[in-house]
Amino acid sequence: MKAVEIKKDIYWVGAIDHDVRNFHGYLTQRGTTYNAYLIIDEKITLVDTVKDTHTDEMISRISHIIDPSKIDYIVCNHVEPDHSGSLSAILKYCPNATIITCANGEKGLEQYYHGNWNYHIVKSGDAVSIGKRTFNFVLTPMVHWPDNMISFMPEENILFSNDSFGQHYATSGRFDDEVSKDEALFEAKKYFANIVLPYSNQVKKELEAAQNFDIKLICTSHGIIWRSYVADIIQLYHNWAHNVTQKKAVIAYDTMWKSTEKMALTLYEAFVKKGYEVALRNLQVNHESDVMTDVIDSEYICVGSPTLNSEIMANVAGFLTYMRGLAPREGRKAIAFGSYGWNAKSVAHIEQYLQGCNYDIVASFNQQYRPTQDDLQQITEKTIQLIS
């Protein structure tokens, strides 16, 4: 397998995972890539590695350019095993290579691999020259692990952004303008919603730091490299990190005998009537990671479940647990709803989760058995009054 030269003497040497469909609970319907970059300079430098399942693919691409034993530096921007998983294997070729990472990076790598490797530890603002080129490092803790950092190469105007700006998107094209722009931006949105969203404050700081760089290429660690749409993706990251919402509602629910579904459809009609874009997501057929992509820019988040044995349905509990971990912390309005037979518990359970998300619960609708037309009309009227 061949490397792809992205600029003179700078190569993409990563791996394409066409088959992966579940990334620790995040459905990756378009697969993903693990991006590593090789720079041929006075010090031959590898930026990140790939998941261990794809080590041979990376080594094959590196070997297409140089003998891997010649690698001097390996920049490790992130400890997570989809980027560090091939370190042990590549270091067998170049045991004297130095790993450039931050203090939390060293700590994490040693706790994962116990390699007792050579490290050069960098802090924010540190620069490392590799000859004609320089890496300027910015630590970006908790975007999205303690060890994350990004590195800017001013001579080439390249930001090695690791997971930031990434997408789970396996394509034959390596650049944003070689694939569908809409697909690339959608997958970047899904990635932000499922990985980065709870760390929006840290993303804001990262974006502030990036403002100091004249970025022409964003070399991510997943998906395509941003080249033609750098401004677009930075603007979108700005919007997502600043909690910018659309006139949009997401309605996520499960139902037993269609009563909660009738309530969901009634909410749907009310929001549509008031000009909202509405994502109606039955959790029996929609995955929580897809629903998160709708949550990211929704003004209203509505969650419904009937009471099932004093609890809520497991699909809804799973979604709420997932969303509570990822929730944007401010500025969202929520509606809880659900039906019950004899023990009205579900709405209170849902409210508890929504409070844990820090959402403002603006309405709750409880319905015993089947709602009548009058019951549904009341939901419609109250909802329209709320959103008008």
Partner: protein, 56 residues
């Protein structure tokens, strides 16, 4: 002295004034408000501004 605990929003680490953060140069008995502004979370590295009062 204020013995209120503070939680690191991004990673969940809890600063307990009784323990301080000796590795980070913060002696036991130091109230959160008296920690220098350049101190960072000993677990994840974010700044003091990303901590909030722990409500127990």
């Amino acid at each position: 002295m204020s013995m209120e605990k503070y939680v690191c929003e991004p990673c969940g680490y809890i600063y307990d004034p009784a323990e301080g953060d000796p590795d980070g140069g913060i002696k036991p008995g130091t109230a959160f408000k008296d920690i220098p502004d350049d101190w960072v979370c000993p677990v994840c590295g974010v700044g003091k501004e990303d901590f909030s009062l722990l409500e127990e």
